[in-house]
Every structure is written in structure tokens, then in C-alpha cells.
């Protein structure tokens, strides 16, 4: 039953994503990609749970610590670079100063 509930969430979220993304103008497609990229780094949640639950197993600990590092680079770096890019998009009035 819980699987069906999760599947339902997945399908609804996919449609929502379709609606949201198709409204993003092509000017902002690069920031959009790096943003969605950063967002996909939330897989770090999974890595954190697996890591904390298995500190007694060296192999899992190593793998999950690597996973946390990689996912954090993805999220933190992704958001930072998106912010840097979006900071460059300015209106005409702002540019004149």
C-alpha cells in the first residue's frame, strides 16, 4: 500500500514538474539546469540515513561517507553557482549604475 502511495506522489510530482519547467524562459535554461542539478543532491538524505545506521560496518561507512561528500558537493556547489549566475542577470537600469 505504501508503495502505491509513493508511486502516486511520483506521478503527481512529475506532472507538476512538467508544468513548472515549461514556464521557465530559455534565457534561464542554464541556471535551471544547475538548479535542478543542485536539487537532485537531496539524495544526501538517503546517504545520511544509511551512513548513520551502519557505523559498525566499515564498507558501508566508507561508501556512504563518499556518497554524502559527493551529494553535498552537488547541492552546495550547485546552489552556489546558480546564485552566482543569476546575480549576473540584471535589468537595464541596474546596469547603468
Amino acid at each position: 500500500m505504501i508503495f502505491l502511495l509513493l508511486l502516486f506522489i511520483l506521478i503527481i510530482a512529475t506532472f507538476l514538474g512538467r508544468e513548472l519547467i515549461s514556464k521557465v524562459p530559455s534565457q534561464l535554461h542554464t541556471p535551471l539546469m544547475s538548479a535542478t542539478n543542485a536539487i537532485s543532491g537531496v539524495t544526501v538524505l538517503g546517504a545520511l540515513v544509511v551512513c548513520a545506521a551502519n557505523t559498525d560496518d566499515v564498507l558501508i561507512l566508507v561508501l556512504s561517507v563518499i556518497a554524502i561528500i559527493l551529494a553535498t558537493i552537488n547541492t552546495v556547489g550547485g546552489y552556489a553557482v546558480t546564485d552566482r549566475m543569476l546575480g549576473m542577470f540584471k535589468k537595464k537600469e541596474d546596469k547603468k549604475q
Binding site: 537532485s40 537531496v42 540515513v49 556512504s64 552546495v76 553557482v81
Partner: protein, 482 residues
């Protein structure tokens, strides 16, 4: 009332809040004015989710005050700290021309992280021989997360190598490539079936290892035949695959936040992929398997035999001086020549001279979707002047001068007139309809795809040969000298 809320309910409430933040963030990305704030909200959502996970039952159980090395919090914090530092340094260091590489690299990391989560949870479940309850959903999502996550990883790493020119950016095709790919895929499916089938659980570890190997090879095999100009499609597609891997990881650990964000990212990647395909007038299948960039494609008609007319910078200046409307059409060549700041300077001079200046960007210009816009924004060009092909084409005949910088196929009229041309049917920027066209080009050679460009021999087209940056700079100098 509050007593009835368990910690796990609060946790889920935090995930809902985080999801809402992410959705609002993407919604606000729809406008340049709100985009930056939107991303802050989205990032705040991610922070909320990470804080919430530290109050997750499994994570709290790992608290061990006596032994630091057994304490889950210790490892989690260390890993987050290392990742954050590396991430921030890379994000600050990267040049805007290098954005596609960075996105590919980050994307690969995301994919690998999801695969590692799946593998770890598989290993954790299966090392306990007894007490393991067969769960088809878990098995299916684990195998998909490992497979897709690792394809994303190796594919993104190869894309990163191609984009940063560590390896050749050209498409690599060889005989039997499709057959090999098909074979790999079949073996992968077989391994998945073995893994999911309960009576074959004894072979689970072997199946997972086979799946791992195949996925890594397949990721490489699928990016190899795709050439430089088609990279925007690959990047979008890999982005979408990461989303799927994240959603699968969400099924494994039963986390709604991962499922929602994975679906959003997956949808985003698919939409961008389709936009790119449409802008090239090619189907996804054709793009992925034809190795477009590798073939020395030759147009049906080999031009009209007419020679392009070249003019010196001084003459071009005379035309620009009299122009009332100018549109720049930049391609990846502009980024390679690092000419965007010089373009901005020339545009400033033109505006002082009373001309209206616009920039028209083709959807597939650059090495990832929207790449050109970021480069122009970096050079302080206001986003109101960044026009899409659809906005600009109808008013193109009213433009006095169109300046094509380092773009080729996207302004080739053969796409509209020559049915034999490999790019026939691709939507183009109709630069040839402007009253005068300047084409800035390094030399007389063909463009990236090797297709003859009819635009160069048109009556109203004038070629200015030489380094684009130097040409633009000397045009701007002519204005100052006046």
C-alpha cells in the same frame, strides 16, 4: 493534540515544507527578477530537509557519546563539511564558459551518490542472512537506482572530459556500436531480473556486480557517439537520469522528499532534452545513435558557386555608423574567442550613436541549454535585450544590420530551402532577412557540422575575416576615433 504527533510525523512535516520550498523555488525561476530569491528559498528547503533527517529515528539511534567513531553524527558532519567546502570552492572558481563541464561533473556526482545509497542499503539488508524479508519494490528500485545512477556517473564523466577538451569532443562511432549497446542492455536487464527474482536470491551479489559493470560501460558507450554540437542534449538527458536515480533512492529509503525532487528533476531534464531536439529538428533516437558530429556531412547542393564578399573593418564601420537597428547573433565561437565583453563595448557605442541593439540567441547555441545567455549576462548585457529566435525572426527584415559572431548552422538558410541538406527543417535565425549581414569568421573553412552555408554567398552578406574579438574591438575603436 501535539502529544499525538510523533517525531516521525514532525519529520515528514519538515519534508513537506522542504518540498514546498523547492517547488516555489522552481516556480520563481520562471522570471529573471524573482529567480535569485527563488533559489534561496529552494536552498533553504534543502537545509530544512537535512536538519530533519538528523532527527530521523535511525539516525538518532546512532548517537554514541562514548565512541566518536561509532557515532553517526560525527561521520555525517565531517562528510557534509568536506563536501560543502569543495562545492563552494568549485562554484566560485569556475569560468562561465566552463559551466557545462561543471554541471556535467556535479551531475555525475549526484548519480554516483544515488547509486552508492542503493548499493549500501542492498549490502546492509543482505549481510543479515536471517530476518531478511523479500520486498519486490525495494529490489526493483535498488537495481534501477544502481543502474541509472552509474550510467549517469560514467556518462557525465565522459561528457565532462569531452566538454573540457581533455578528450576529443568529436563523436566516436565504430561498426557494431548499436549491437554492442543492445547486448549490454540485455545483459543488464537479465541481471536485474535475477536480482529481483526471490528464488535466485543466492546470486544477488553477482547480479549487482554485473549490473554495476554494465552500467559503467553503458554510460560511456552512450555518450561516445555524440559530438560536440549535440552536447546540450546529452547534458539535459543525463540531468534527467539523475532525477530518476534520486526518485528510486527515495523508494528504497521510503522518503517522499527524494521522490518529489527526483520527479521534478527528471521532468525538467526530459523537457529540456525535447526542446533541444526540436531546435535541431531531430528525434531523440536519431540524435543518440547517428553520430551526427562524426560524419563529414556534405550538403546536397554545393553552394551556388558564388564567392563570399569580404570587407575590411573600416567599411563595416561606415555601415554600422548609419544603422538604426543592430542585432547580434552569437554562437559558441563568440565564447571561444572570449569576445562577449568586446561585443558589449561595441553595443554601448552603437547605442550612444542612437541605434537599437538586440541579441538573438538560438536555443542550441553554446554547449548547454541557455549557455549563451549566461555568457552575455556576464558581460553586463541586460536581459531585456536577450531575445529568443521566435521573438526576433518576425522583425528581422526591419533590422539594418545583423552581426553573426561565431554562429554557423543556426543561421544557414539551407535549413529552409534545401531539402537535401542534413539540417533541412531545423528552425533557424533568419539573419539573411536583415538588410545587411556581417559574418565574423576566423577563416574560410566550414562550420562545426561541415555543412556549406548559403548565407555567406548571399547578396546582402559581407564577411569580416579574422579573430572575432579583435574585429569587434577595432569596430568599437572606430567609433571612439570619430
Amino acid at each position: 493534540m501535539i502529544n499525538e504527533l510523533s517525531l516521525s510525523d514532525l519529520n515528514n512535516l519538515a519534508y513537506i515544507l522542504a518540498c514546498v520550498c523547492t517547488i516555489i523555488g522552481i516556480k520563481m525561476l520562471g522570471k529573471p527578477t524573482t529567480a535569485r530569491r527563488g533559489m534561496l528559498i529552494s536552498a533553504a528547503g534543502t537545509v530544512v530537509a537535512v536538519i530533519a533527517v538528523f532527527f530521523d529515528g535511525q539516525v538518532m539511534d546512532s548517537w554514541d557519546a562514548g565512541n566518536v567513531l561509532r557515532n553517526g553524527y560525527f561521520w555525517c558532519f565531517i562528510a557534509i563539511l568536506i563536501g560543502s567546502i569543495i562545492g563552494i570552492i568549485w562554484a566560485k572558481k569556475v569560468q562561465m564558459t566552463g559551466m557545462p563541464e561543471l554541471v556535467a561533473l556535479f551531475n555525475g556526482f549526484g548519480g554516483l551518490a544515488s547509486a552508492l545509497v542503493a548499493f549500501s542499503s542492498f549490502y546492509a539488508l543482505h549481510k543479515i542472512e536471517t530476518g531478511y524479508i523479500y520486498d519486490a519494490v525495494n529490489d526493483i528500485s535498488t537495481s534501477i537506482a544502481i543502474f541509472i545512477g552509474l550510467i549517469t556517473f560514467s556518462g557525465s564523466m565522459l561528457a565532462w572530459g569531452k566538454l573540457s577538451e581533455k578528450i576529443t569532443g568529436r563523436a566516436i562511432v565504430f561498426k557494431g556500436q548499436k549491437l554492442i549497446n543492445l547486448f549490454l542492455l540485455l545483459v543488464a536487464v537479465a541481471a536485474m531480473v535475477i536480482y529481483v527474482t526471490p528464488s535466485l536470491d543466492g546470486f544477488n551479489l553477482i547480479a549487482v556486480l554485473v549490473l554495476t559493470g554494465i552500467a559503467l560501460v553503458f554510460g560511456v558507450a552512450f555518450v561516445l557517439p555524440i559530438g560536440g554540437g549535440d552536447m546540450p542534449v546529452v547534458i539535459s538527458l543525463l540531468n534527467s537520469l539523475t532525477g530518476i536515480a534520486v526518485a528510486m533512492a527515495g523508494f528504497i529509503i521510503t522518503n517522499t522528499m527524494l521522490i518529489v525532487t527526483g520527479a521534478l528533476v527528471g521532468a525538467s531534464g526530459v523537457i529540456l532534452t525535447l526542446i533541444m531536439c526540436k531546435a535541431m529538428n531531430r528525434s531523440l533516437g536519431n540524435l543518440l545513435f547517428s553520430g551526427f558530429g562524426a560524419t563529414d556531412a556534405v550538403s546536397g547542393k554545393d553552394g551556388t558557386g558564388a564567392e563570399p564578399k569580404a570587407i575590411p573593418v573600416e567599411d563595416a564601420y561606415m555601415v554600422l555608423e548609419a544603422a538604426e537597428s543592430v542585432v547580434f547573433i552569437p554562437g559558441y565561437g563568440m565564447a571561444v574567442a572570449q569576445a562577449q565583453h568586446a561585443v558589449r563595448e561595441l553595443a554601448g557605442k552603437l547605442e550612444e550613436n542612437g541605434a537599437e541593439v538586440n541579441y538573438c540567441v538560438h536555443p542550441v547555441a553554446g554547449r548547454m541549454p541557455g549557455h549563451m545567455n549566461v555568457l552575455l549576462a556576464e558581460a553586463d548585457i541586460p536581459y531585456e535585450q536577450l531575445r529568443t529566435m521566435e521573438e526576433m525572426n518576425p522583425i528581422m527584415p526591419m533590422q539594418d544590420v545583423a552581426i553573426v559572431i561565431g554562429a554557423n548552422d543556426v543561421v544557414n538558410p539551407a535549413a529552409e530551402t534545401d531539402e537535401a541538406s542534413p539540417i533541412y527543417g531545423m528552425p533557424i535565425i533568419k539573419a539573411h532577412e536583415a538588410k545587411t549581414v556581417f559574418v565574423l569568421k576566423r577563416g574560410k573553412g566550414r562550420g562545426f557540422s561541415g555543412i556549406e552555408n548559403e548565407l555567406f554567398t548571399k547578396q546582402n552578406t559581407l564577411m569580416i575575416y579574422g579573430d572575432a574579438k579583435a574585429t569587434i574591438a577595432s569596430l568599437a575603436n572606430e567609433f571612439t576615433a570619430e
